[in-house]
Subunit: 287 residues, 2 copies
């Protein structure tokens, strides 16, 4: 199934990411409606032409009209929303999301939705360290990765539609991962890196360091400006995998420390060469 | 003392950094000469007008003519060069460098130079993850920090000249630090971050991760593409301070891990809020 322009897309939650979705899709002529908490956010999106209609309340008509619903909410808010309002979604609607963990939410969402409504998980690997619709910017999707996370309950039609949404948003790569693969991968690639950045900023309160620093410290701590409510929730939802990855990191860090303590230059250099070689794969694809 | 255009500046070592120095200074009309290992590097710099004269051999005339010498060499190569050729430097010449550690080299350089030649340490906090004069780019200095590291043996005249060099190169901030302050600060801000980046790239060889990653992992590992010869040398020259900083990091990381393991969301959130607040200071100054 392809994302066609006769479909009604409803976005629930117009934050940075929901706003960027609305921006990208409306610019291509798709029908986008939105439900979000604050009326001024609705007005902002309406005034820019990013949505056709919006409401700061749960609006049964907007929900019932939707062919595709994209939830851009925190994990717990998403689960509560579906528990309360899921019955308003019409049969045949495809539901997707942007949630950063999948194990914790996938079964619960699938169980809570009415018969005939299909949930297909997605995770756009893009964001900014600022919040809110006024910081929305669909260029964050360019060069970035979009992950589709199907389960055995999904139809090939819904998976294809979700993949098409990723391409339409402007992502450079769209991949499929199982729930378990996704959560292990994200624990390493995203959650661990946030733990490291926060740790670095909590190591020292020595004054004036900003006058002495180079770009490496700035790069490693860009994401240390962190939404504590959302990230602590994401960490708790993926606790076991994240603890595993933190332990692998701590052990490898300790190996490097031992090499330095023992003056074992060969081991340090061999880790550095391995690192250099591996890192070459991670350059952002050119558009 | 100010850096005036009647002065002869000699750069020893035209790599990425030496080349960028030559580029920045020659563009402003300063007299720049160079000694570097390979003739093709000399030719490259001559063809671009970055130097007035250059030699791939130790050239007594160029050295004897210099009022200011900037060494842009690895620590061990720098110490060897001065031991062999220091006697060719004329009285009154000011010698500076770009070495990333100071404790290990400062006393040795000061002791090895002839009477009447003054060494004033400097550390430009700018670089790229690529090597060589062909990657030189003086815009790396814009918005960046320049550290001057005097000892009690330095004259105010030489310190002022070295600071002026930092401003002329285009740095946004020029600061003075003692040798001990410098090496502690650099262990934390620069060396530790490189250890973390290398560790991250050595944690997992799982294939296809580049298809799933977001920008946070890319940012934290940009510097994982590392010159193993130079960095292992810098680490060994600052071993005690770096081990201290690695231990502080590991301990703080462990505190975060414990909070997660115990489901202590308040501690995690409080570390994240502290992190967010501290990070705000580190944004690059606008020009």
């Amino acid at each position: 199934m392809q994302l066609t322009k006769d479909k009604n897309i409803l976005i629930v939650g117009l934050g940075l990411l929901g706003g960027s979705y609305a921006m990208a899709l409306s610019r291509q002529g798709f029908h986008v409606d939105a439900i979000t908490r604050r009326q001024e956010t609705v007005d902002y999106a309406l005034s820019r032409g990013w949505i056709r209609a919006g409401d700061a309340k749960v609006n049964a008509e907007l929900i019932g009209n939707a062919d595709i619903i994209v939830f851009t909410l925190y994990p717990t808010v998403l689960l509560d929303w579906i528990a309360e309002n899921g019955h308003l979604i019409k049969e045949g609607t495809i539901v997707t999301d942007v949630t950063g963990v999948k194990g914790h939410v996938t079964d619960q969402i699938q169980a809570a939705l009415p018969e005939g409504v299909e949930y297909i998980g997605a995770h756009p690997m893009a964001g900014r360290e600022v919040l809110g619709i006024e910081n929305s910017d669909d260029s964050i999707f360019h060069g970035a990765n979009y992950l589709v996370v199907p389960t055995e309950k999904n139809t090939e039609d819904a998976i294809a539609l979700c993949e098409d949404l990723g391409w339409r948003l402007g992502f450079a790569r769209v991949s499929r991962l199982s729930v378990q693969e996704h959560d292990r991968m994200i624990a390493f690639l995203s959650q661990l890196t946030h733990c490291i950045a926060v740790t670095l900023m909590c190591c020292s309160d020595e004054p004036n360091m900003e006058k002495y620093t180079g770009d490496s410290f700035r790069d490693l701590t860009r994401i240390a400006r962190i939404n504590d409510g959302m990230w602590s929730e994401l960490f708790m939802c993926n606790r076991e995998e994240l603890l595993n990855q933190m332990d692998v990191f701590a052990k490898t860090f300790d190996q490097f420390r031992d090499a330095l303590a023992q003056g074992d230059v060969q081991t340090m250099r061999s880790m550095m060469r391995h690192s250099t070689e591996q890192r070459a794969k991670f350059d952002k694809p050119k558009r």
